[in-house]
């Protein structure tokens, strides 16, 4: 059986989730490998969520937030940006390829961008192969 990546996507309620919704209603195609989880803000995403996903079988974690300057809560996405940078450093030291974690800014009008970045990411993870965090 060929490898199908499992990807957990944390999407912010105001931009990326709405963007994903738009991709849906616009009938854009993108791979069904992502499991979207709606959070109120990308700044709500604790590194623990990311580690939890990897520990429990995710091959990749996608985080979608508002463009810089567009955060509904003014600064949440800046917090997310710094946390993801630091978390990527941590993943590297743990032996996990940092490419498995991706942060993208997707606004509510960017359904097409959402479909594109998700397809790209799924393809990238497919190339990397499964993450065997339990080995």
């Amino acid at each position: 059986m060929s490898f199908e990546p499992k990807i957990v996507a944390f999407l912010c309620n105001w931009c990326a989730y709405a963007g994903a919704d738009l991709a849906g209603v616009s009938r854009l195609k993108y791979p069904a490998n992502i499991i979207p989880i709606r959070v109120l803000c990308s700044g709500r995403i604790d590194p623990e969520f990311i580690l939890h996903a990897f520990r429990n079988g995710a091959d990749g974690v996608f985080i979608g937030g508002c463009h810089p300057g567009d955060c509904h809560y003014i600064k949440g996405n800046y917090h997310a940006r710094r946390r993801i940078l630091l978390t990527k450093k941590l993943l590297k030291e743990m032996g996990i390829n940092e490419k498995r974690l991706r942060l993208e800014w997707v606004s509510a009008t960017e359904g097409r961008k959402f479909a594109n970045v998700v397809s790209q990411f799924v393809e990238e993870i497919r190339q990397l192969g499964p993450l065997e965090a339990k080995k």
Binding site: P47, R83, L85, E93, M94, G95, I96, N97, L131
Partner: protein, 303 residues
């Protein structure tokens, strides 16, 4: 009736055994209340003495040190069988402590660094005596057997230990504080209303001005570490490294999350530089809990 207690050391430095003496004169009261039935570090007991005991005959067994060898694991299981209550004593048994950082490397790499390519060991070879197996990864006590209570700390600080012994001898297990160390920090009043980190400094190369360490840009784990030690390190002008573990879950993750959000983020480039300047993320934030972070050892995903 006097309670029967046992104390065993797994893979640890011996500091935990010594820390029990750190309760000073309270130790005399303690010895009046308990019978020590097994404590290999301090008294002459053999494993067969432990094997001969009836199951469940020990009231409280303290296990300090982590599980690094098959011997450690065997005794942990044996103690679990013989004791009514098994207590993880100290950071090694609770979270793996500093030696848990070994989980960043494979067993072969560790042997290589110790025996083969070590400057101070000429013509080294890996010993081949009949010794207990060196396990592939370091484990914490609760990953091997059921643990009834945890006494954190490296080694457990006096106030924590006193509270723990008091509670345990009375059959209680709720003796830990649920507050973060900042709550009892002597420097808490110098914390500005809005913390902002513009530069990460290392403690040894900065001039401590007596203010909150985070306000000075020195990473202090106090904000995510359990209180109870009465901020011994900070009183001695050393930032907290988190030996008491997290209030809820891994302290390292919470500290990472909090400290990352304190970094000045006006400029993306500057922010990247500050984060890049944090050396050794696992060693900084997971100094005592790397074995919890990497329970199966380093992930093999380099591609």
């Amino acid at each position: 009736m006097k309670k029967k207690i046992a104390m065993y050391w797994g893979a640890g430095c011996g500091g935990c055994d010594v820390s029990l003496l750190g309760v000073h004169e309270k130790l005399l009261d303690l010895l009046g209340e308990v019978d020590i039935v097994f404590w290999p570090c301090a008294m002459d007991f053999k494993y067969e003495d432990l094997e001969k005991m009836e199951d469940g005959s020990i009231d409280i067994a303290f296990y300090n040190g982590a599980i690094r060898t098959s011997e450690n694991e065997e005794i942990a299981k044996l103690l679990r069988k013989k004791a009514k209550m098994l207590v993880a004593y100290g950071s090694c048994a609770t979270e793996g402590c500093v030696i848990g950082l070994a989980n960043l490397y494979a067993r072969e790499e560790i042997f290589d660094a110790i025996y083969l390519n070590n400057e101070t060991t000429p013509d080294g070879k890996i010993p081949s005596h009949e010794l207990p197996e060196f396990l592939p990864v370091l484990k914490t006590l609760d990953s091997v057997v059921k643990v009834d209570a945890f006494i954190p700390g490296c080694p457990p600080p006096k106030p924590v230990l006193e509270a723990a012994l008091n509670a345990l001898l009375n059959g209680k297990t709720d003796f830990l504080s649920n507050l973060a160390l900042c709550d009892e920090c002597p420097r808490r009043d110098s914390k500005p209303d809005k913390l902002e980190i513009n530069e990460i400094k290392r403690w040894h190369s900065s001039n401590d001005d007596g203010r909150c360490f985070l306000a000075q840009g020195i990473i202090c784990m106090g904000l995510a570490t359990r209180a109870g030690c009465k901020a011994e390190c900070i009183t001695a002008s050393i930032p907290c490294t988190g030996c008491m573990g997290g209030v809820d879950g891994l302290s390292g993750v919470s500290a990472m999350s909090a400290i990352a959000s304190l970094i000045n983020g006006e400029d993306e480039e500057k922010e990247r530089k500050i984060i890049e300047s944090i050396e050794d993320v696992v060693g900084t934030f997971f100094k005592y809990s790397a074995a919890k972070l990497l329970p199966y050892g380093r992930v093999k995903d380099e591609s």
